[in-house]
């Protein structure tokens, strides 16, 4: 979540002061992402020093200082919106690492580890779905943010299902001679 670019997006609608930016950020993300006012002002200072925003407070600090986006900021916002995020490097996902580690521990039942995580993620999904059921009809932004979270969690459950199925196959078939994968790729994927 880029706070920097979210604030630029809010300022592209017109000049605003810090507290107003925080309130609008929360409203527009369906209150799903918390943001404290300190983060807002720190980010605004950085944006100002990069000449992406300017303030007309003339030395005035605090809540009454108003910020507006510059043309350089407009250009930065447009570039950010149209640039896909870098998804080429797998994130160092804690869950993936736990399953990979569990595989090497003879005293640990990896299926049990998978199920503990599966149950937790499905419980989380139930909570998000309740929220959608109760409120999303009235708040489009909240519904979109919840859908994003549900699809992300759904992908985690699918990976756990696929992992379990792959493990079942691996344990039921005779061991194969391992081909040596390129070391760099194995390292990059977090596989020992």
């Amino acid at each position: 979540m880029s706070i920097k670019h979210s604030l630029l997006a809010l300022l592209s609608e017109g000049p605003k002061y810090g507290l107003q930016l925080r309130q609008e950020f929360e409203a527009k993300t369906g209150q799903v992402w918390p943001l404290n006012v300190g983060q807002v002002y720190t980010t605004l200072q950085r944006l100002e020093s990069d000449e992406l925003v300017e303030s007309d407070g003339l030395g005035e600090d605090g809540p009454r200082r108003t910020f507006r986006i510059t043309s350089k900021g407009d250009s930065e916002l447009s570039t950010w919106l149209h640039t896909p995020p870098d998804l080429t490097s797998p994130p160092r996902d804690e869950l993936t690492i736990k399953i990979l580690v569990a595989l090497d521990l003879s005293k640990v039942d990896v299926h049990e580890v998978i199920q503990v995580h599966r149950r937790y993620v499905v419980e989380l999904m139930q909570q998000w779905t309740r929220l959608k059921e109760n409120e999303s009809g009235f708040d489009l932004r909240l519904a979109l943010a919840i859908d994003a979270e549900l699809f992300r969690l759904d992908a985690v459950v699918r990976w756990l299902d696929a992992a379990e199925s792959r493990l079942n196959r691996a344990f039921s078939e005779p061991p194969r001679i391992e081909t040596s994968q390129p070391l760099r790729l194995r390292r990059r994927m977090g596989v020992r």
Partner: protein, 240 residues
């Protein structure tokens, strides 16, 4: 009140070296108004569980009770009557009868149960209307979209005084918007007091349920706890 109860139910197919244990000692209770999802991989026993719960198959051992009545003591005719009156089924491929219109598909179980055709169709129209399908009532299944067909299938499953809704991957072939609409219909039926069991491999669908039961190799291995209030997921108001 418990609508459906499976007590120590097992189901074995075949014998000798080809014997398959589809279900092993499964116990499950569904209260009136409860929405239970059963999750598991292909071959985990989900469909067998649903067939036994709906009296379409007999367990090898154990007991199934619907509305407190044990299925083992019912005759074939009693079970058929129970299925018509108390149980609604929703299948992944809808199973609508192609020669009947949407309203005729929905009214059919009522007519089979002895309600005059006109009355049955009036009741069916009411249900279709509630699902936003009154304008499609005269359409045949091949004239309906996937989402509409599944809504008709749900209308057929909840029409009359059905107490139990059993659904097998009810939104398997639908896009996410239509799948959500289907789950909202199941939920609405539960709010009216129907007990629902949906079997699926899809966590997205299962997350609509009050309780998710996990099945592996024919055994219940786990279940979710009742979900906490959704408010806990929203950001707290940050301190100034």
């Amino acid at each position: 009140m418990t609508i459906l109860e499976l007590e120590n139910v097992s189901k074995t197919y075949g014998g000798g070296p080809t014997e398959v244990h589809a279900l092993s000692h499964v116990s499950l209770s569904v209260e009136a108004g409860a929405f239970v999802a059963v999750m598991g991989a292909s071959g985990s026993g989900k469909t067998t569980l649903l067939s036994i719960a709906g009296s379409l198959e007999n367990p090898t051992s154990g007991e199934v009770r619907i509305d407190g009545r044990p299925l083992s003591s019912m005759s074939r005719n009693d079970k058929a009557r129970l299925r018509r009156r108390s149980i609604g089924y929703v299948f992944q491929d809808f199973n609508l009868l192609n020669g009947l219109t949407a309203v005729e598909n929905v009214s059919l179980p009522l007519e089979l149960d002895g309600l005059p055709a006109k009355k049955a169709q009036a009741v069916a129209m009411e249900v279709l209307d509630g699902l936003g399908l009154s304008e499609r009532a005269s359409s045949y299944p091949d004239q309906l979209s996937g989402g509409e067909s599944q809504r008709v299938a749900i209308a057929r499953a909840v029409v009359g005084e059905r107490r139990l809704l059993l659904a097998d991957e009810p939104s398997g072939a639908l896009d996410s918007t239509n799948a959500e609409a289907v789950m909202r219909l199941v939920l609405a039926a539960c709010h009216r007091g129907v007990g629902a069991v949906v079997v699926t491999h899809d966590a997205h669908l299962a997350s609509w349920a009050d309780r998710v039961v996990f099945l592996r190799d024919g055994r219940v291995i786990d279940q979710t706890m009742p979900p906490a209030g959704p408010e806990s997921l929203l950001a707290p108001s940050p301190e100034l």
